[in-house]
């Protein structure tokens, strides 16, 4: 379900295919409901080792993040700081991860490439950027860590199932139509960079 609240577009989990197919690159959204953390080692377990996610994330949100979590004892945890990590590290796994888990929204830092974009298009998912380095803004959106799994992977790699309120802002980087914000931007960046390199190079011919 999608709700407009004080001008914010809020998607509520479980998220439907229709909800994500209505999103486009550059849109800003927020999440109500649940998100889980899952990055490198989690993707490896699910895609390479063939394990099931310890939490059902059909219609859910996977955040590429390695948080700082305080162990309160008795299986309770407090989210101290959580921010996105470089999503590109998960690129290799993401098509299969989307296919297997039924996840609708992936959240991370920076862009991803064709393998992810293919999964997004085929199965109905988007990749979003949470502006990185804003770990406390993200942490205060988390009402509670409801459960923690695969703690053997260590604090940054474990799966934390979090109940969230207006988790965001999330900026859509890859949509279901195959558009890719960063890849499109990179074409512009590369062109300007080449011009700037030529300009600077003309002034630094001073080697002995």
């Amino acid at each position: 379900m999608t709700e407009i609240r004080n001008g914010k577009k809020v998607l509520i989990t479980p998220i439907t295919e229709e909800d994500v197919r209505a999103l486009h690159i550059g849109d800003t959204i927020y999440i109500d409901g649940h998100v889980v953390t899952g990055r490198d080692a989690v993707h490896d377990r699910v895609v390479v080792e063939g394990l099931d996610m310890p939490v059902d994330i059909h219609g859910g949100v996977d955040v590429h993040a390695g948080p700082i979590v305080r162990d309160l004892g008795d299986g309770h945890f407090e989210m101290v700081a959580i921010g996105p990590t470089t999503s590109m590290r998960m690129e290799h796994f993401e098509y299969d991860f989307i296919k297997k888990t039924g996840v609708r929204i992936l959240v991370g830092k920076g862009g991803m490439k064709d393998n992810t974009a293919a999964g997004c298009k085929e199965f109905g998912a988007v990749h979003c950027v949470f502006p990185a380095g804003n770990a406390i803004v993200a942490a205060v959106c988390i009402e509670e860590i409801e459960s923690a799994h695969w703690l053997d992977l260590g604090m940054p790699e474990a799966v934390y199932d979090c109940r969230v309120k207006e988790f965001g802002p999330l900026i859509v980087g890859i949509d279901t139509e195959g558009r890719n914000f960063f890849e499109e931007k990179k074409v512009e960046y590369e062109k300007i960079k080449d011009e700037e390199v030529a300009k600077i190079s003309a002034e630094v011919g001073y080697i002995m």
């Binding site: 700082i68 700081a81 502006p131 380095g133 960079k193």
Partner: protein, 305 residues
């Protein structure tokens, strides 16, 4: 008696450095904060402005809640410039190690140290060669400057060094740096501070690049050509329009710093490394009597031990 006194002082040193590490994880250095304010004020793209505003909201919350501003509190690195007459010289390595253990628990910092080959997280933020400590001895002096640096994963990834042939010259060094900006730079949490090292070999260039990141923002290389190169690279990378988060904006970098040492006639070593916008570097200075203060964080209260 002298020994007991020494032990007490060392323990107090651990406490102060641990609390300084915590402070630098929560508050950005004065120069970084001021530069980000300036960049926010001059930005014209709407999305970029929104991202800057979010960054300032995050810094406000981190201060209010006393939590690390970024969840990746990095691998701890120390650059120690120590007078040979500093009375606690022999203890510094042990003190820094203890301070990392303490700050990791108390702040808390994320557990980030993975032993290589054995491949497990040590769970303490210390390990073989970590914290990394780089020494510079200052003959005839009795004080000690300790630069702290939290090397996060995202902003460590773009780091690269190489050795060029002189025939390729400085233009090849420029291309080497600029290519890194549009590939790895986007994911390294721009606006970045870019450290460029020039030297004889890959590792001297790399060390120079790291030292470049420790310099205050707005400082310039003393060599006129190197200073001009800093300026040109800054203008050039800004012109690319990477913006905060690599999503577009008027500017891309907080600055470009070049640090150079001499080269071999047959080599031109060049390295690039970057700091993210959340540039967690600090400097705490002790005199021989252990009066201390920070040169980077005005809100860190100095004192005497």
């Amino acid at each position: 008696m002298a020994d007991i006194n020494m032990k007490a002082k060392e323990s107090a040193l651990v406490d102060v450095i641990a609390s300084f590490i915590a402070h630098t994880s929560i508050r950005l250095p004065d120069d970084v904060f001021a530069k980000l304010e300036e960049m926010r004020a001059s930005e014209t793209e709407e999305r970029a402005i929104q991202i800057y505003d979010l960054m300032f909201e995050n810094m406000r919350l981190a201060k209010e809640l006393k939590r690390p501003t970024c969840q990746d509190t990095g691998v701890l690195q120390f650059f120690v410039r120590c007078g040979t007459g500093f009375p606690y010289l022999d203890s510094i390595e042990e003190v820094l190690n203890e301070a990392v253990l303490k700050s990791t628990k108390e702040t808390p910092l994320r557990l980030n140290v993975v032993e290589t080959f054995s491949e497990y997280n040590t769970g303490t933020n210390t390990g073989t060669g970590v914290p990394f400590i780089m020494w510079e001895m200052l003959p005839g002096r009795t004080d000690c400057e300790i630069y702290t640096y939290m090397a996060g994963g995202g902003c460590s990834l773009p780091g690269q060094s190489t050795v060029l042939m002189p025939a390729e010259g400085y233009p090849a060094a420029v291309k080497f740096v600029m290519d890194r900006m549009t590939t790895y730079g986007l994911n390294a949490c721009p606006p970045l501070l870019v450290g460029v090292g020039i030297g004889a070999t890959s590792e001297t260039a790399a060390l120079n690049a790291k030292h470049a990141l420790l310099r205050p923002i707005g400082s310039h290389n003393e060599n006129e050509r190197a200073a001009r190169l800093e300026e040109m690279l800054e203008e050039g990378i800004n012109a690319i329009g990477i913006g905060p988060q690599g999503m577009g904006g008027d500017k891309s970098v907080m600055g470009v710093h070049v640090v150079n040492t001499a080269r071999h006639p047959a080599t031109l070593g060049v390295a690039v490394t970057v700091a993210c916008w959340s540039h967690r570097r600090g400097c705490i200075v002790f005199d021989k009597d252990l009066n201390y203060g920070s040169t980077t964080h005005s809100e860190f209260e100095g004192g005497a031990l």
